[in-house]
């Protein structure tokens, strides 16, 4: 059970109807994975973070979930993967539809975890990912420096889509030279 020190159970509200339609991208092959026990527990507290905000014209939950540490924590330990999937799904049950990842986290592994976590409802998600670091597209190995050359970005985005499609928002840096400006990709849920 989730701990109860948070104030999360208070004032639950229904999820707002998502006007996000599934994008054509998302449409194909979304095999729904069984919800985890954690997600089902979360359902009883649905909608705590159901309030919506706008980033430009993109609607997201007022609070998102960062998944950077889900392949390796700051403390350098490796979290239990099934529990990470539980957390992602329980967050969704609480109204979170905005998830933030990056190609560099893992590298690649965090996007895989997120893709698996959101699989049951990924047509409703806004997923942000980022590029900019020079990461080997096949192996995920970190190479020197930055890489935002157009051909690299296109291939990096294709990789993101495979690992955690559908994507809504990709933040990238158009800046060929910046990292942190690694872009973020996010994708919005599909829209119909």
């Amino acid at each position: 059970m989730p701990g109860n020190r948070a104030r999360g159970g208070i004032g639950r509200r229904d999820l707002m109807a998502l006007s996000l339609a599934a994008a054509g991208l998302a449409a194909a092959g979304l095999a729904a994975a069984p919800l985890s026990a954690g997600a089902q527990v979360g359902m009883s507290m649905k909608g705590v973070a159901g309030e919506r905000r706008r980033l430009g014209d993109l609607e997201v939950s007022s609070i998102g979930l960062g998944v950077q540490n889900m392949s390796r924590t700051y403390q350098t330990t490796i979290p239990t993967r099934p529990e990470m999937l539980n957390i992602i799904r329980a967050a969704y049950d609480r109204g979170v539809i905005f998830f933030d990842a990056a190609e560099a986290y893992g590298p690649h592994e965090v996007e895989r975890i997120l893709g698996e976590g959101v699989a049951p409802f990924r047509d409703k998600m806004v997923i942000a990912s980022k590029f900019g670091w020079n990461i080997d597209l096949e192996t995920g190995r970190r190479l020197q420096g930055l890489n935002s050359r157009p051909e690299h970005i296109k291939a990096a985005v294709d990789g993101m889509l495979k690992r955690c499609a559908p994507i809504a928002l990709i933040c990238s840096t158009s800046t060929v030279s910046i990292h942190r400006s690694r872009s973020k990709t996010s994708r919005v849920p599909s829209r119909t």
Binding site: R5, I63, D158, S181
Partner: protein, 192 residues
């Protein structure tokens, strides 16, 4: 984007001219920078620029890499490889001074019947309606706590009081090591 793979895009930690250039080229949905009570750098120009251009703002490390939850103190030491070990704001010399912020958060947590981390997130949400924090976690209880922050609201007087109290605390130390910071607030080279 023209292929429908990326529905929105944004930049992280970019320079001001780069943001304006990018937005003129292809509408930017969101900027993602570090922003929290512990690092208020975006208040210098990023937030006002986002407001001018109608760009949303996503806060990374909205809990100050855990510091604002009260999880670190003067006795905390970090594992090799933990990025916080090389952020001088968490050095043994800086933490005692910076803990004033945690003290402030604890008093507001009591006042609002919340946790220090929830006050930190609610403070971000209260700054602008187009700000979205993305707290990361690998613990179910923390996810529940973080999403619960969406339920905490401040009156106009409360937020004015809290803003003033936060502004009065001087944070010591750098948010990132120099070699990483070098990638922030950098302008992209011109095309020519």
């Amino acid at each position: 984007m023209s292929q429908g793979k990326v529905l929105h895009w944004g930049l992280c930690e970019m320079g001001q001219t780069t943001l304006r250039r990018a937005h003129a080229e292809q509408r930017v949905t969101a900027v993602q920078n570090e922003y929290s009570m512990l690092w208020r750098g975006p208040e210098k120009w990023v937030l006002s620029t986002c407001q001018d251009l109608g760009i949303g703002f996503v806060c990374w490390s909205p809990l100050g890499v855990g510091f604002l939850t009260g999880a670190l103190d003067g006795q905390t030491r970090f594992a090799d490889g933990d990025i916080r070990a090389v952020e001088t704001r968490f050095s043994p010399g800086s933490i005692p001074q910076n803990l004033a912020l945690v003290g402030l958060l604890k008093s507001w947590a009591e006042r609002k019947q919340a946790t220090p981390g929830q006050i930190s997130l609610a403070w971000l949400l209260a700054q602008k309606p187009w700000i979205v924090p993305i707290p990361g976690t690998t613990q179910m209880a923390h996810m529940v706590e973080n999403t619960g922050a969406a339920e905490i609201h401040f009156t106009t007087d409360e937020i004015a009081e809290l803003n003033a109290a936060v502004s009065a605390i001087r944070i010591q130390g750098m948010r990132l090591p120099e070699n990483v910071l070098a990638y922030s607030d950098v302008e992209a080279p011109s095309k020519n």
